[in-house]
Amino acid sequence: MKLWKLLTATAAAAVLLATPAFAQTRIALVVKSLGNGFFDAAAKGAEEAAAELGDVEVIYTGPTAATAEAQIEVVNSLIAQQVDAIAISANDPDALVPVLQRAMERGIKVISWDSGVAAEGRQLHLNPSETALIGETIIKLAADYLPEGGDVAILSAASTATNQNAWIEAAKAAIPEKFPNINLVSVVYGDDDSVKSTEEARGLIAAYPDLKAIIAPTTVGVVAAAQVVTDQNLIGKINVTGLALPSEFKQFIDNGASQAVALWNPIDLGYSAVYLANALVEGAEAAPGATLSIGKVGEVTLDDTNSAAMAAPFQFDASNIEEFSKIY
């Protein structure tokens, strides 16, 4: 019977695949979808943390389609496997709540990271960064290369973009105290559209001849501005900076249109998520005000909603853009 042979072979192969882990802490890193460079990098960081902690096994998993329904099936199978902790970047803040509550009822520690779950569906949430830190960082990125100070302008996304507006407010708040010689001359909006962003960048350069830096806290705007600076031969006169994807932005670090940009570091994010999940498994209490270690990245303090911010955005410059452009 061929079928039987096939079945026994499959079963045998499956047994070999499923090497059970003994007396180990098993932490599942659940991502929005597999095959995404950002999350693969996070998994790399998670493995790093597991190696440091010892006795921790990381299960890197997630659905193929980035839907809440598919993620629920993944969580269900993790509950059945009786993992010790689930660290999830959720496809939906609400739809995952019932299944994650069930996981917690069965003694599994649940944290969310990157993309959060509503407070009742997890014990704590790890944000890559927070508004004040981001606002401060985008100014610092420009100020670091302007020892004498000077005029800078912001090229944002849509004027209604909640994230960007909050960051710009935080940036404005940080300037008088921490960067007194930086003069923010204008905020324009490119709507996260390449053409509009290009026009707005040209407009800024024409309107402010003394402009020393363009800060674009959006991945679309920052590329458009750097392209304009390159095309108009203003490299060395105007420094473009902001939040950028290393893979998209590498050429502008290479050609000098930009000194440095920043974004969340997915490796550190996965690393910190595993540290926090492990801390909960070891009995740490997730309560407002609690301070938890995230290894080499530092430590986090939980706020009123048990959320924490990992760190300021991670800086990419000539020294590390090569490495990170391969990741995301």
Binding site: A12, L17, G62, T64, T67, E69, I72, N76, A80, P98
Partner: protein, 333 residues
């Protein structure tokens, strides 16, 4: 095994017999596959043979399976309904809207099921009233229904469904037997009787084999097709209630991609995609197999993409097998 039955049951009517025996052996093959996967799962993971694991497993297919039951009938008549997932989205969204106006649990269920039936009736009207091809109609309504849900909700979500309502998607009738599973089994029995034990069911097969001949035999083809589209709408509405209750929230992207999973179940269950043949037992077994495969591979933490490849291959094998078997038999004859 199947070889001997074929020779033993050779009847003079050459058109009917091979088809019937193929359907018969098809289900036994599915039982074998299901048992095989069950065994493989038990060997592969120490966590599989556990009452709660097996109970959790059923959530992987109950909602889609409910729709597949009705979809099987539609496909047997030679039509298809690709809008089922979007019906879920619209029904769920309108339930959420009703909730904002203070609807209680019975009203919510009524809204969900009612919207499902209305959407199905709309499909049925376009197909039978305006004589449009069902694949075109339902690709259109697929965008239309979900589009309306997006207009109502945007990037927002509805939540805060009452606790009694969540029971439909998260509750247990007893021990580890979920309400969803019981509902699926009851529906399977009803659909079995409807398709295999009633005149209506015979007429469904007749339409699928030859709609013109059926019409000349006095079968009210359009009316039956209209009823079937309402029926898939109804099952989608019920699935919307279950899924919304299970997720405890509504987003316009709810149930995205379900339609292909449902069609996969139906085809894997041995229903001919060209119409005219199929059985409810096959569909139920196929739903179970898909649940076993996805959950089993999930327990081994096999990446989702491998699962997709696995179900894809399963589907191709399923469609190719009868054809290969027929070719092999013809060569022997």
């Amino acid at each position: 095994m199947s070889d001997t039955t074929v020779t033993a049951r050779q009847l003079p009517d050459r058109l009917d017999n091979p088809l019937k025996s193929a359907v018969l052996s098809w289900e036994s093959l599915l039982v074998l596959v299901a048992l095989g996967i069950f065994l493989a799962n038990s060997f592969a993971s120490p966590y599989f043979l556990n009452a709660w694991s097996l109970s959790d497993l059923t959530f992987n297919f109950t909602e889609k399976g409910l729709i597949a039951l009705a979809m099987a009938l539609v496909i047997i008549t030679g039509e298809i309904d690709l809008s089922v997932a979007s019906i879920i989205a619209l029904a769920s969204t309108l339930m959420g809207l009703a909730l904002q106006y203070g609807a209680d649990t019975p009203t919510l269920v009524a809204v969900g099921v009612g919207v499902g039936v209305l959407c199905g009736a709309f499909n049925g009207f376009l197909v039978t009233g305006l004589k449009l091809p069902s694949i075109v109609v339902t690709i259109g309504t697929m965008s239309l229904f979900r589009g309306v849900a997006f207009i109502i909700l945007g990037d927002q979500s509805f939540k805060g469904y009452p606790k009694e309502f969540s029971w439909f998607g998260q509750g247990y009738v007893g021990w580890v037997i979920s309400f969803e599973l019981v509902l699926f089994l009851v529906a399977a029995v009803i659909f079995y009787v409807l398709l295999h034990r009633t005149v209506f069911g015979r007429q469904v097969f007749a339409i699928g084999n030859n709609a013109t001949a059926a019409r000349f035999s006095g079968v009210r083809v359009d009316r039956i097709k209209f009823v079937l589209f309402c029926l898939t709408g109804l099952m989608s509405g019920i699935a919307a209630v279950l899924l919304t209750a299970r997720l405890g929230s509504t987003r316009p992207s709810i149930a995205e991609g379900f339609e292909l999973d449902v069609v996969t179940m139906v085809v894997l269950g041995g229903v001919s995609i060209l119409g005219g043949a199929g059985s409810i037992i096959g569909v139920v077994l196929a739903a179970l197999i898909i649940g076993l495969v996805t959950f089993g591979l999930g327990l081994l933490n096999v990446p989702g993409i491998v699962m997709t490849i696995f179900t894809g291959s399963l589907l191709i094998v399923v469609i190719a097998l009868p054809i290969l078997w027929k070719m092999w038999k013809e060569r022997r004859a």
